[in-house]
């Protein structure tokens, strides 16, 4: 059994190394053919071929995507310049200058496809072989490592989680370093992303400083220093490595996918089989995401084989990821129908009310209209009604894709969430700030959609959307949301950033039957519940005084109840007597008529 596990771990590590190495295996050689596949616009294509020939780049081989990318960028610039010159001399008959000139926004797409099409070497030659050698081998290793766990005696398996350099978390200093460096890095990259416009990055930085100042002011005013925040003594070097790898992965995936064409080429055959087309970086991401949820979902099943709530819930997140997030959208693409993740709800799905999406759905016949209505009904009916009956868990820990990843891949890191009161203050400001940003951004979008104007109060709606997509949609949800699993726990995005979680949370806090009840006086204040709360709720604070828990952030994963060694916590769908049972102090055994507590 131990042998199987060690073999599995070894295979996984080999697979991960190979997977990383595949990015450097291919060479890149620009040909007329690859340019033709990358550039649909005939004027751009013609000019690019001419410039490439002139500079002697056709047929020239590069060893890395970075060198290739640099050379290709020169070509793009030269072609752009040349087309601009020619446009001055007069456009071809019947062609607008917008079609003729090559806009800078096209560079990213041209570069990505050209790089992919220019790849030559073992990976592009044998994509399926490398797919099985890397991703396939990783799955095999993972399964070998996980399956023997089914043989263990059922019960909570957290032994040595804080002794493991992967899951023990970071010292406060290291955590601050990662947080600070990531935030500054993302804002600086944001300036570049917004075409050297400082405005929105600067506004974001100011908002961040304002929130920090507010929270710290409150802390200092009450002479409060965080005690239980990050780990004071331990530093998990493997966790830091894993975090850095994940952060790097997301940066490449979102913003410079031309450097991961090796991976995308590998999944091309899978993509063709499913949707009939070639893989984009989003197909790669969707496939990896689904596979990770499946494999780590099985791990979750081994860990909680004694707990039916966890088993049912894990099957649920696996199902919704495979069917709703992955297969159904791919099949819809294959059928030439509008594709949509039918469980992705605005404002998490922030592009839902974007003009191109609305137009796409309206122009796609009955199915498109259904999707539009479905999406709106989810927001205004399903969320409040279902949350009223079951709490936000129906979505966050049963259906949602982000939640699905957090509950499977992220499960080993749930103890790293910050339980300090200070973190709670940050949480409330930031998550509701993001909700407000999402609402305002969507409002601007709809206003411009219906009015036909480009700006709202002199702010360009398009720029605001671009910035939201960058800083919230990609940077927060992806880079920080998943990259920080081993650094700050598995629900950083869900807890601090997700606007849908904020919306669900408001319903849960003020109008829901869901709560966690405590079992009389049985709490021993051990702290397992708080430690393993991925949302950083100090559950013990409530449990030790016999107080029922109603909190906006609780995603109802049920792990507090599972790890409690004394059977104190239970998730419930009933609001009966909730007022009395959530009182700040419930005297359980010592009480006498006439003795009243001071308020």
């Amino acid at each position: 059994m131990e042998f199987l596990q060690k073999t599995g771990l070894g295979l996984f590590i080999i697979a991960l190394l190979l997977f990383t190495a595949t990015l450097g295996l291919d060479n890149y050689r620009l040909t007329e053919e690859s340019l033709t596949q990358a550039i649909g616009n005939p004027y751009h294509l013609e000019e690019m071929i001419a410039v490439a020939r002139e500079q002697g780049q056709l047929g020239k081989e590069y060893g890395s995507s970075f060198e290739f990318g640099a050379a290709f960028k020169e070509l793009l610039k030269a072609a752009q310049e040349s087309l601009n010159q020619k446009a001055k001399d007069g456009l071809p008959e019947g062609v607008s200058q917008w079609d003729y000139k090559m806009g800078g926004w096209l560079f990213k797409d041209y570069t990505f496809v050209a790089t992919k099409k220019s790849s030559a070497g073992p990976v592009s030659g044998n994509p399926l072989f490398f797919f099985f050698l890397t991703i396939g081998l990783a799955i095999l290793g993972g399964v070998l490592f996980i399956l023997p766990k089914f043989l263990a005696i059922p019960g909570i398996k957290h032994n040595q989680i804080y002794h493991n350099p992967m899951t023990r978390g970071l010292k406060l200093g290291w955590r601050s370093f990662f947080l600070g460096a990531t935030m500054i890095g993302l804002l600086l990259y944001g300036v570049y992303y917004m075409n050297d416009s400082y405005f929105w990055p600067a506004v974001t930085a100011l908002v961040a400083l304002f929130i920090s100042a507010l929270v710290l002011f409150y802390q200092n005013q009450a002479k409060r220093t965080p005690a239980r925040s990050a780990s004071p003594q331990v530093t998990g070097w493997l966790g830091m490595l894993a975090g850095a790898y994940l952060i790097g992965f997301y940066i490449l995936l979102y913003w410079v996918p031309q450097h991961i064409t090796g991976w995308i080429l590998m999944v091309d055959p899978v993509s063709r089989a499913l949707n009939g087309g070639e893989a984009s970086q989003w197909f790669l991401y969707g496939l990896l995401y689904t596979l990770v949820i499946l494999v780590m979902g099985v791990r979750m099943l081994t860990k909680y084989m004694h707990n039916r709530y966890q088993i049912v819930r894990t099957f649920s997140v696996m199902f919704f990821q495979v069917a709703f997030a992955f297969l159904i959208p791919e099949i819809l693409v294959r059928l030439n129908l509008p594709s949509m993740d039918l469980k992705n709800i605005w404002p998490l799905n922030y592009t839902f009310f974007f003009d191109w999406n609305i137009n796409k759905l309206i122009s796609s016949g009955a199915l498109g209209i259904f999707m539009l209505v479905w999406g709106i009904v989810l927001v205004i009916v399903a969320v409040p009604v279902i949350t009223y009956f079951f709490g936000k868990r129906w979505y966050c820990s049963w259906v949602c894709g982000c939640g699905g990843l957090a509950e499977t891949l992220g499960d080993p890191y749930r103890q790293l969430s910050d339980k300090s009161l200070r973190a709670w203050h940050y949480e409330r400001w930031i998550i509701h700030g993001v909700l407000a940003f999402a609402v305002v951004m969507t409002g601007m979008t709809l206003y411009t959609y219906f009015s036909g104007e480009k700006t709202v109060l002199s702010f360009n709606s398009n720029t605001v959307r671009t910035w939201y997509g960058f800083i919230i949609g990609s940077a927060f949800a992806g880079v920080v949301g998943t990259g920080f699993y081993p650094l700050m726990g598995n629900r950083v995005w869900c807890r601090f950033g997700c606007p849908l979680a904020a919306y669900l949370g408001l319903v849960q806090r003020f109008k829901s039957r869901f709560r966690i009840t405590t079992n009389g006086g049985q709490c021993i204040s051990c702290g397992n519940c708080s430690t393993y709360c991925e949302m950083g709720i100090d559950v013990r604070w409530y449990a030790q005084r016999g107080q029922d828990v109603v909190r906006a952030s609780c995603v109802g994963c049920g792990v507090c109840a599972a790890v409690c060694p004394r059977g104190v916590l239970r998730l419930e769908n009933s609001s009966m007597d909730v007022k009395e049972r959530t009182e700040v102090v419930r005297v359980l055994h010592v009480s006498r008529e006439g003795v009243k507590l001071r308020d």
Binding site: I153, P154, G155, I156, H158, N159, Q160, I161, Y162, N164, A222, K223, R224, T225, P226, A227, R228, S231, P232, Q233, V234, H306, N307, R308, Y309, Q415, K419, S420, L421, N519, G520, G521, Q522, I524, S525, C526, G527, N528, S530, T531, R540, Q544, A561, P565, R566, G567, R570, L571, E572, S574, M576, D577, V585, V587, H589, V590, R592, V595, L597, R598
Partner: protein, 449 residues
């Protein structure tokens, strides 16, 4: 008024918190163990790597300052009750107006040869844990002496690090002076299936010195020698009152206190493990070294210190523990050797890791207690049934409202009813299933039957 509390465990800290709620007195809590209150029951989880020490602190460090509870890390060596002054080992002097003694327990040592060697320790304090951690480095085998709850915890701790454990239990079945035979047998099985070397009916005779002042083996009453690098002494605890002996404070095994937790000296109170009640309630022991009673006593002491006379009433007995992977809960009067009038229904799951036991009165038929293994029941519901002397058949028909297992868990309450029907020839039906609303309705209303 200056209230000084000696001991920052659950009794002392609960008292401090409630004194603050009830008054504006100056409060000082003294401890030499740790700067801040931590959950003693969670010590094992630090060793097992489930939590860090930081995580066992129920309150963040700023809490004490905010609530004006002064914490003092000092070792008190002597108390002058006439001068109302405490004397610390570093020359500290502290004057009190009212004093609460909450000094807790110390592990029992029964005069075994070698009991003070290095590598021999109980598991009570944070220092004990550090000691255990220190000796775990390269440890080949640990021997645990004493088959109680702490012994089981210690066995699980070593087991979690794959350190072989031999568990010496004096009785012929684990903890059978508290657990009924079936539950005790279940615990035995579970210890063995985890690969822990359980030795029943075995006592420690001697701990062997390796010549360097460190334990290297134990010799049992059967003459067997077991090589080991660590010996855990977990044969119970006694009140930690050594430094109070020979003062004017009346003590027995613990500090003698009346129902208001007052000692024989005015303005001196006692709460928690260190107390020996002069007149315990019927069916209760004068010394109860349990987390829950410590918490209740701390709260009661706070009322009395603040001038509200409240007698200590621990209510209906309850307790809980966990035997490696099997949770254990008990409510009410449940005895290993039950008196004549106790009858019980015992249901056990085929997997041998879950059971439900209901005890009721043979004549009157009212329910007396609940013993649960691997199944969770609601404290408040069980307590109400016991307090109001609900009839066993009424309880059985409503048994579902006591169930506190998580959602989707199989409910076994109907199997208990079926078992009762088989044994009594009755034909009862389970009328209420698991659910909060049903339980709360029951708790709101007076008993119907």
């Amino acid at each position: 008024m200056h209230v000084v509390i000696l001991g920052n465990g659950i009794a002392g800290i609960t008292a401090a918190r409630f004194i603050r709620k009830l008054s504006d007195h100056d409060i000082t809590v003294i401890s030499a163990e740790t700067d801040h209150f931590f959950s003693r029951t969670a010590l094992m989880y630090i060793y097992m790597g489930h939590m860090r020490y930081e995580d066992t602190k129920p309150y963040e460090d700023w809490f004490w300052d905010k609530n004006r509870i002064k914490l003092l890390n000092a070792y008190i060596e002597r108390i002058d009750f006439d001068a109302k002054t405490l004397f610390g080992s570093q020359g500290e002097e502290l004057v009190y107006d009212k004093l609460l003694l909450a000094t807790g327990s110390a592990p029992n040592k029964f005069g075994w040869p070698g009991q003070n060697l290095k590598g021999v320790s109980g598991l009570y304090s944070y220092q004990d844990l550090q000691n255990m951690e220190h000796f775990s480095e390269g440890l080949q085998r640990a021997v645990i002496v004493g088959g109680g709850l702490i012994g089981m915890e210690m066995a699980e701790m070593f087991h979690s690090r794959h350190i072989p454990v031999t568990f010496l239990v004096r009785e012929d079945s684990y903890w059978n002076m508290v657990l009924p035979p079936e539950e005790s047998a279940m615990a035995n099985r579970h210890i063995l299936e985890n690969g822990i070397g359980l030795r029943l009916s075995t006592e420690l005779k001697e701990i062997v010195d390796d010549g360097q002042g460190r334990a290297c083996a134990v010799i049992t009453n059967t003459g067997e020698r077991i090589e080991c690098g660590y010996v855990g002494l977990t044969a119970g605890v006694h009140p930690n009152i050594g430094f109070l002996k020979g003062t004017s404070l009346e003590t027995g095994r613990g500090i003698l206190a009346n129902e208001y937790l007052e000692t024989n000296i005015p303005d001196v109170y006692a709460a928690g493990d260190c107390v020996q009640l002069r007149e315990p309630q019927p069916g209760r022991r004068p010394i109860e070294a349990v987390w829950y009673t410590g918490r209740m006593a701390g709260e009661t002491a706070a009322y009395n210190i603040c001038g509200h006379q409240v007698p200590y009433d621990p209510g209906i007995w309850f307790n809980s523990a966990k035997f490696i992977d099997i949770e254990y809960q008990v409510y009410g009067d449940l005895q290993a050797q039950p008196p004549e009038n106790h009858v019980s229904i015992y249901w056990e799951h085929p997997d041998g890791r879950k059971s439900i036991r209901l005890v009721y009165d043979r004549e009157e038929g009212h329910v007396l207690g609940f013993n649960l293994m691997g199944v969770r029941y609601r404290h408040e519901v069980c307590e109400k049934w016991i307090r109001e002397k609900a009839h066993i058949e009424a309880v059985l028909q409503d048994l579902g409202i006591a169930n506190f297992d998580p959602e989707f868990y199989k409910e076994y309450d109907d199997e208990v009813v079926r078992l009762y029907n088989q044994q009594s020839g009755r034909n009862l039906q389970l009328k209420k299933r698991r659910g909060l609303a049903g339980a709360l309705r029951f708790l709101r209303n007076p008993l119907s039957a």
